[in-house]
């Protein structure tokens, strides 16, 4: 897949994610975060399971063959959810969102640069740093525009 198409798909996934968050936010308000998350995860697991049964080709390795630490991804997601539930009412949504993004991008750069967790090592280049700076400034603008509106 060419890089541009891949990038477009990822951007689209970001848009899908924010639609999902909007729907789940409403859901969480009425039934509580635990139940709304469980519902999302169960529907996600069941629909992925169906897709696997009918469309996934066979692979040499299964989930049971890989080292166990490779299966711990979901734990980070659940811990993230719990931290946000506790912290957002205290620090505010805007600050929490920016803090998450800082952690996300910082850790992302570290994993990329050193090739941790079995990822291909991608050295920190000038254009990657510039991309980060652009995003950082964009966040500042988003934050300022929201303060004016509020």
């Amino acid at each position: 897949m060419s890089l541009v198409i891949l990038l477009a798909v990822v951007v689209l996934a970001g848009a899908v994610l924010s639609v999902q968050a909007a729907i789940n936010g409403r859901l969480g308000e009425s039934v509580g975060v635990l139940r709304s998350s469980l519902l999302t995860f169960v529907v996600g697991a069941v629909s992925t399971g169906l897709l696997i049964l009918f469309f996934e080709p066979a692979h040499a390795l299964s989930l049971l063959d890989v080292p166990k630490w490779q299966l711990t991804g979901a734990l980070f997601g659940v811990v993230y959810m719990m931290v946000m539930v506790g912290a957002v009412p205290v620090v505010g949504t805007a600050v929490a969102t920016v803090a998450v993004i800082v952690g996300q991008l910082g850790m992302g750069m570290l994993i990329d640069n050193f090739g941790w967790l079995g990822n291909p090592a991608i050295e920190l280049s000038g254009s990657r740093i510039l991309a980060m700076v652009c995003l950082g400034v964009a966040l500042v603008f988003m934050y300022r525009s929201s303060r004016q509106a509020g």
């Binding site: 891949l6 990822v10 951007v11 996934a13 970001g14 848009a15 899908v16 994610l17 924010s18 999902q20 909007a22 729907i23 859901l27 709304s36 469980l38 999302t40 995860f41 169960v42 529907v43 996600g44 697991a45 696997i52 692979h59 390795l61 890989v66 979901a74 659940v78 931290v83 946000m84 912290a87 205290v90 620090v91 505010g92 805007a94 600050v95 993004i101 952690g103 996300q104 991008l105 910082g106 850790m107 992302g108 994993i111 990329d112 967790l117 990822n119 291909p120 991608i122 254009s127 990657r128 991309a131 980060m132 652009c134 995003l135 964009a138 966040l139 603008f141 988003m142 525009s145 004016q148």
Partner: protein
């Protein structure tokens, strides 16, 4: 899975001491999201993208089920009483995770995250401006257009490597 839309509903909150204590925790939680993406990419290459996605939703479901069981009775209506459209979120989550496992081996985790954030900002700005999906048309101020422009520049920088 978090979204940037939340920046747009900023509410001032007090309790300065607790805030400073919690902030590093929130940053750590954000770092966890990248670790999750970092685990997903190589796993997807080895066992298949859908299987990697199932591992996330399967393990997540199991943990949340146990948490819910021990958390005791929950407030609010039963899940079966909810409007059906509110259940769509469950189908959108896997799309996002599959794309994560597809993209990270090619463009790396940090750049994948930037592209995801771009989609979030773009979605909120364009929906407000054009009033798509039945949203009320709102005037998008210059600062948010600037933010969107900067994000496009970031994407071009990633695409050029």
């Amino acid at each position: 899975m978090q979204t940037l839309d939340e920046v747009a509903v900023a509410a001032p909150v007090k309790k300065a001491g607790l805030r400073l204590l919690l902030l590093p925790l929130v940053i750590l939680a954000g770092m966890g999201l990248s670790v999750e993406a970092g685990l997903l990419g190589p796993l997807g290459v080895q066992v298949g993208h859908l299987w990697a996605t199932l591992s996330i939703f399967g393990v997540g479901s199991a943990i949340l089920f146990l948490l819910l069981l021990f958390a005791g009775p929950q407030k609010g209506p039963a899940l079966t009483d909810l409007p059906r459209w509110q259940l769509i979120g469950g189908f959108l989550g896997p799309m996002y995770v599959v794309v994560l496992t597809l993209a990270t081996p090619h463009i790396g985790i940090a750049m994948t995250m930037i592209a995801i954030l771009s989609g979030q900002v773009g979605k909120s700005v364009l929906i407000d401006h054009f009033g798509w999906f039945g949203a009320t048309r709102k005037k998008v101020n210059a600062e948010r257009w600037l933010a969107l422009g900067l994000i496009v520049v970031a994407l071009v920088l990633i695409a050029r490597g």
